[in-house]
Chain length 310, copies 2
């Protein structure tokens, strides 16, 4: 069923030990939508500037992504510039130009109102909350955030967290949000104090761990934590968007299933890792634009093979 | 079948956020032997001082460990003092007193000569190599080392690595030994240039990854890397010896099986994680002295449950 995603569509200027790219099509919503598009229909809410051409839109359209909610505004698109020269695991931001995103007031096209799954990609929590309130009838809400919102705008973030079925964050963000370095205790704090019914903590090259409250699986017993692997890769060409691609594979798979069961959630974490592993193989969204369903299934089998006893 | 282990038997003075313990029975060979003792017969080669009493020896004997190879020398036992107050993942050494280990010249009791499995725990590579040469007929050699030997004594370590079927190290040591931060490339370098047929890289709370050369599994196709999980723990009381306990569970299981197959190796990595997870629940070797076979099997099932799709 349809996922509605709100988040950034941007141009990224990226330098890694593998080279440099100027103004690749990027942004959290773009990575998410491309990754999710292999599993289900995706609708986007975002704003772009005059530098976003029909050619860029065609990249999304070719993957069947509904871009009716893509607002075209005067000015330039969101632009991020950064590098991973010192550490492939942590982006070093050189410059962020919000541009058209500064004045963004999300509107939902009428045709999007029947969307059953909502994804709040990493943007200003005020916008995340506004979109959530505009879509009161969705079946499930999943969201991402980042260290900046946790450290500087926690009060704005809290009402968003209270709306989430699943929060996706990384180790550092979990420690910050949970107020403790221990992953289990951080997850406990997030689940009992902040609202999400489940939290998926991403460990980069080591995979991800899901933690669940009793409220998440209706009719199923409370699930134990679950660990999904990541693929050991000799070449991480560009880590930009790996987390958003994980979210796209994860949520896209969930939206393609009739019901959220522990097995569906676990399988979704594997597909998240699969899409993340494709994303980092090339710069920007290059790989995500051209992967095939057969390649995805093959890699899913590989994930199982490298982590299952038989 | 019997494992012969050479390594340190020591007294550890440890401080962690959970408290402080003076002179617990410890050392790499002790942790290894206790963990392995739940799977197979273990024989020890080490030296202890006059402060090592019959009571200490009884701790090993109660687990059926053969201590005939434990040399009693004049002077004090090896003593290590350290803390984990700043970081539970990295020991801060306060003091190391080699004491009787300074003059240690390992001798193999005649009754140990039929041992089929040799474990070279982390000690001076000169001693590791000497023991290896004294046991030319073993079926398999597995070993550990640490950053100190890699950075300051690589030339002494290299002939040891050349003798190993399996090398067990952590992420930092792998990067040091492989000369590159990427785990896959570091493992490749170790397997192709340094001699081990397999390397198990331990990621602490994130589990471990095994990498294999084609030479490891006779009659089986070269195996893909394998990722085993670690248990998400709310309380890590004392990380001392976690790696040695992993090695004990891992190698103990292998020695209990008729043949080394990819499935045996993978299962062994799970048992390694299981024994490591017990070790850190209490100070020193306290937990490893009193775990039961039933608890081990129960935890093994839990490891499978938290990492397998069905």
């Amino acid at each position: 069923m349809s996922i509605l995603v709100v988040g950034s569509v941007a141009f990224d200027t990226i330098e890694t030990p593998y080279g440099k790219r100027e103004r690749c099509l990027g942004g959290a919503a773009t990575h998410f939508a491309l990754a999710a598009s292999y599993f289900t229909q995706v609708r986007m809410i975002a704003v772009v500037g005059e530098d976003f051409t029909a050619e860029h839109e065609a990249v999304l359209r070719r993957r069947g992504i509904d871009t009716l909610g893509l607002e075209h505004a005067k000015g330039k698109s969101f632009h991020w510039s950064g590098d991973y020269l010192e550490d492939l695991n942590a982006a070093h931001t050189r410059q962020t130009d919000l541009n058209v995103f500064q004045e963004f007031d999300p509107k939902i096209p009428a045709g999007y109102m029947d969307s059953k799954y909502l994804f709040l990609a990493n943007i200003d929590p005020v916008l995340q909350l506004r979109v959530r309130k505009l879509m009161p009838k969705v079946r499930m809400v999943c969201g991402d955030t980042m260290n900046y919102w946790i450290s500087a705008h926690l009060e704005k973030l809290k009402p968003v967290l209270a709306e989430l079925d699943v929060l996706l964050i990384n180790d550092g963000e979990a420690a910050m949000l949970g107020g403790v370095k221990n992953t289990v205790r951080a997850a406990e704090h997030i689940l009992t104090e902040l609202g999400p019914k489940a939290v998926v903590i991403k460990h980069g090259e080591y995979g991800a761990t899901g933690f669940f409250s009793k409220r998440i699986f209706a009719g199923h017993k409370g699930a134990r934590p679950f660990r999904a692997p990541a693929l050991p890769l000799a070449d991480v060409v560009d880590p930009t968007g790996a987390g958003d691609s994980f979210a796209g594979g994860f949520y896209g798979y969930i939206a393609s299933q009739p019901e959220l069961t522990p097995t569906v959630f676990r399988t979704a974490m594997f597909y998240g890792g699969v899409m993340g592993s494709f994303a980092v193989e090339r710069f920007g969204t290059e790989r995500l634009q051209n992967v095939t369903k057969a390649e995805i299934e093959e890699r899913f089998s590989l994930f199982r093979e490298i982590s299952h006893l038989e």
